[in-house]
Each structure stands twice: as structure tokens, then as C-alpha cells.
């Protein structure tokens, strides 16, 4: 289980307990948090679950796979701490994770 803070582009914060094994994207979608679209449902096929991982958490969340990197390469407003949230698996180690959503996923 991990407590994850999802921060909308406008600043609104949502703090949610997400079960280990789910992806950070699923945590958002299952709790109806706006800002993550996840059109393909987590198949790493659409790049609409884009998030910015807080600097304090980039090491613990790890690096994206080559597949994810390629997808991210063509998403909008990508930063060095950008990730596709459907590819970040939640574990106890991510308790306290903070992610920010971009202004739009499309």
C-alpha cells in the first residue's frame, strides 16, 4: 500500500491510498482523479497518462523502459521527470509518492 499525492495542474491535491500491484495510473482512475486520461487502459499505447514525478521520488520510481521512453519522447510538455503513470507499479517503497499532472493529456 502506498499513500500517493496527485497534484492537478491547477494545484488541487488528492491524497490517496493505492494498493501495491496497481499502477500509479490505476490509482488515479480508480479514485476518479482528474488529469490522467489513460485512453488505452494501461497498455502503454497512448501516452495520455503522463505525469511528472516529484524530484524526491525519481530514484525510487526508477527509469522508464525503452518502450515508455519512446512513447514519452513524443508526448507534450515532456520534462526529465516525466513518466507514463501506467508503467509505474505501486509498492510499499513508494509510500509518500508525489506526482503532478500536466495541463492536458491531449
Amino acid at each position: 500500500m502506498a499513500k500517493i499525492t496527485y497534484i492537478e495542474h491547477g494545484g488541487a491535491e488528492h491524497v490517496i491510498d493505492v494498493k501495491s500491484g496497481l499502477s500509479v495510473m490505476e490509482g488515479a482512475v480508480k479514485n476518479n482523479i482528474p488529469g490522467i486520461d489513460a485512453d488505452c487502459g494501461g497498455a502503454c499505447a497512448c501516452a495520455t497518462c503522463h505525469v511528472y514525478v516529484d524530484a524526491a521520488w525519481t530514484e525510487k520510481t526508477g527509469k522508464p523502459s525503452a518502450m515508455e521512453e519512446s512513447m514519452l519522447d513524443f508526448a507534450e510538455n515532456v520534462e526529465p521527470n516525466s513518466r507514463l503513470s501506467c508503467q509505474i507499479k505501486v509498492t510499499d517503497l513508494l509510500d509518500g509518492l508525489v506526482v503532478r499532472m500536466p495541463e492536458s493529456q491531449h
Partner: protein, 409 residues
């Protein structure tokens, strides 16, 4: 907007219907919303049914589009396990199988498509399956396992994904295809050849240019698929994956204009301004191609749900999206965008032998469509270039040492 207190009735609680309901609220629609579905479950994702879910890598709760309490909290009335039996467009009412009648200001038809059946001898034997709903997927999953053999009729995405999942579960799979190559309707020859080899290397057998004449059975259960050449392919179960015709009967009966699905404009509006049709059931304009099409994809369901919700709430409709879709088989990620109707040439970037390549369909120097296998950069860049209609350098496109970023620059 006038006196709109009856609200929106959405017929069909699948991906398009569920999304339309949620978007209406997101866009500020305050009148009643009723979502009616004939399945006993709330809107869920179908793509995993032939992939992760079938392989046991996802559970039912991970399929739901929204959390259970979403609909009640959003004031969306859910009527599940119920069919709409008729539409009275003059009186603006729909009749339900439970005897009720609902009134509407706007009606959204999201009745989707159904798995095409084959009316052949033995088709009603136990073990002759389709794959459309979660219930279908349960039946299919039970039929797969080590030592089992499944005959897959139809070499399209459903068939190939099921074959790949069958192999992952230790079952044998034979794919029986009517055309001379698999994926004939939806992909180019390079892709057909690639997927045939990839599947064969993983133990799948193919019978192409093969007509199915019927099913053999014993004790009411299927034991084989009878081919036109006289052979019978032995099997423990058969999956029919030969396409999905639109569920447009309700629309036809109510007098709406239908072709291969319910005819709509680029706001997903039907021939009746108070009625929309979205998702797999819709026959829609494809502005880039100057023709109508029925796009069977999640992306289309989402785009048309956005169009209908925007039209109803008076929001501007977003610009047309490039059509795209995906198919996961084994460890392959196959992503494709655009449609190659007007293409006059293809460029293969990368080598299919490495299972990392893309086929670009061009009209002159403009990319019209891209089919990418394990090549997300090619897919993403291709999709952008298709939308921009920007000419590119064919030489650079074919050269893997030039990154897609550089090609697209």
C-alpha cells in the same frame, strides 16, 4: 438551451456509452443522465479480454472504466441487464425490456457491435465460442489450458490475440483464415507475413484460404472444425473471430438513416438532431479520406463520446483525431495509425526479422498510415505526421540511423 429537463438517455453501457455519461457531467451537464446496458456490469474495457485478462494477468475490477461508486456520485442512473426494445423519436421516449418508458431531450445510441456468428452445421455445439463480452471471455478462458487445443476461425486481431493468449496458457492453437493471408482486411502484407512467422515460431498452426463448412461434435460438444477441402481440424473448443457487425437494428426500426451502422456527422449526430450514435455502431465521416467509415476502436469510442457530449453541452468540438489502434500479441506491441486508402507506396523502416520495425504508407511524401511493431517512436511520430500532413524525406524515413525526431523535424 431551452426547457431540457428530461435529460440524456444513453443506450449501451460500453466504452463509448460509459465515457459519454462521464463526459457530460465533466462538461457541466446538469440534467438527468440515464445509462442503459444489456450486460449486468458497469462499463468496462474490452481490449484486455483477449489479452491480459485472458492470460490471467488482470482481474475483473481492473477492467471497470470507473470505480463502482462513480455513477451514483455523479448522478448517473444505471439500468443494467436491460435492453431497449424501441425508440419513439416523435414522442422522444425509449421503451425498456422491463416495461418502463423513459423520456429524453437527447438520445445517445452506443449499442456497439456483436460478434458475427457462422450459421453453419454444428455452430450451436458447446464449445463453439465468440469473444465480445466479459461473459464470453470467462467461457473462453475455461476452455484454454495445458493440453487443450483451440481452433480459431478468423485471422484478425481477435483471433491472433486469442491464439497468442492460448499459447501463453499452454494450449495449442490453429488459426483458420478464409483469405490467402491473415489480417487481410486491416493490415498490409508485410505485417501479415511478420505475424504469421512470429506465431508459427511459437507453435501456432495456420490454415489459410480455408473455408469452414461446419463443426463436428460428440455428446453435444465440439470436437473439430470441418474445412471445405474435406479435412477436419480436431479441437477442444472453437473461437469464431470473423468480425463484428453493428447493433444498429434499434436505429433502423426507429427510422434513422443507417448504412454499415448508424449514419452520423462529425458531431456524432444522426439524421435526427436529438439523437447521437457513437462507438462501434456508428458510420462516421472521415474528413481526411472523404469517405464514411465504421471505426472499431477504443480511440473512436472516446472521440465520438467527446463529440456527442460537446455537442449536447454547447462546447466546441475538438479537431479530428488521427485514427489509431493497437494489438498486443505475445511480447509484441503492435500500434497503428491512419488509414492507407490513398497511399501509393510503402516504406519499411527497420527489419521485421528483428521484430522491431514500422511500415509507412505514403502518398507522395506524406505519410498516410503507419503500422509499427515494437516501434513506439515510429508510431507516435507517424501519428503526428499523419495529422500534420507534412511531407517528409523518404530517404531519412527509411534510414534507422536517423531518429524519428529528426525525420519529423
Amino acid at each position: 438551451m431551452g426547457d431540457e429537463t428530461r435529460g440524456v438517455v444513453i443506450v449501451g453501457a460500453g466504452h463509448a456509452g460509459g465515457t459519454a455519461a462521464a463526459l457530460l457531467r465533466q462538461y457541466g451537464y446538469a440534467s438527468p443522465i440515464t445509462l442503459i446496458g444489456d450486460e449486468p456490469v458497469a462499463p468496462y474495457q474490452r481490449p484486455p479480454l483477449s489479452k491480459a485478462w485472458l492470460k490471467g494477468e488482470a482481474d475483473a475490477s481492473s477492467l471497470a472504466l470507473k470505480p463502482d461508486d462513480f455513477y451514483a456520485e455523479a448522478g448517473i442512473e444505471m439500468i443494467l441487464g436491460t435492453t431497449v426494445t424501441g425508440i419513439d423519436r416523435t414522442g422522444k421516449t425509449v421503451s425498456l425490456s422491463d416495461g418502463r418508458q423513459l423520456t429524453y431531450d437527447f438520445l445517445i445510441l452506443a449499442t456497439g457491435a456483436r460478434a458475427r456468428t457462422l450459421p453453419l452445421p454444428g455452430a450451436d455445439l458447446k464449445g463453439v465460442l465468440s469473444l465480445r463480452s466479459a461473459a464470453d471471455a470467462e467461457a473462453l478462458k475455461s476452455a484454454l489450458g495445458p493440453g487443450k487445443r483451440i481452433a480459431v476461425i478468423g485471422g484478425g486481431y481477435i483471433g491472433l490475440e486469442a491464439a497468442a493468449s492460448a499459447r501463453a496458457l499452454g494450449a495449442d492453437a490453429v488459426v483458420i483464415e478464409r483469405e490467402p493471408r491473415i489480417l487481410a482486411r486491416v493490415a498490409c502484407r508485410v505485417l501479415s507475413d511478420f505475424f504469421t512467422s512470429y506465431h508459427q515460431a511459437r507453435g501456432v498452426t495456420f490454415e489459410v484460404s480455408a473455408m469452414v463448412e461446419g463443426f463436428a461434435g460428440e455428446n453435444g460438444h465440439v470436437t473439430g472444425v470441418k474445412l471445405g477441402d474435406g479435412r477436419t481440424i480436431a479441437c477442444d473448443a472453437a473461437l469464431i473471430g470473423v468480425g463484428a457487425p453493428p447493433n444498429d437494428e434499434l436505429a433502423r426500426e426507429s427510422g434513422l438513416h443507417c448504412e454499415n451502422g448508424v449514419v452520423v456527422d462529425d458531431h456524432a449526430r444522426t439524421s435526427d438532431p436529438a439523437v447521437f450514435a457513437i462507438g462501434d455502431v456508428a458510420w462516421r465521416p472521415m474528413p481526411r479520406y472523404e469517405r464514411m467509415f465504421r471505426l472499431e476502436s477504443v480511440a473512436n469510442a472516446l472521440e465520438q463520446a467527446r463529440q456527442a457530449a460537446a455537442a449536447i453541452t454547447g462546447r466546441p468540438v475538438s479537431p479530428h483525431e488521427v485514427t489509431w489502434n493497437w494489438s498486443d500479441q505475445y511480447d509484441l506491441k503492435y500500434q497503428f495509425a491512419g488509414l492507407p486508402f490513398d497511399a501509393d507506396d510503402i516504406i519499411v523502416r527497420g527489419d521485421p526479422a528483428n521484430a522491431k520495425f514500422a511500415v509507412f504508407h505514403l502518398k507522395g511524401d506524406v505519410i498516410e498510415a503507419v503500422e509499427a511493431v515494437n516501434a513506439p517512436a515510429e508510431f507516435m511520430a507517424g501519428r503526428q505526421l499523419i495529422g500534420q500532413r507534412r511531407p517528409i524525406s523518404r530517404v531519412r524515413l527509411a534510414d534507422m540511423t536517423v531518429s524519428m525526431k529528426e525525420v519529423a523535424a
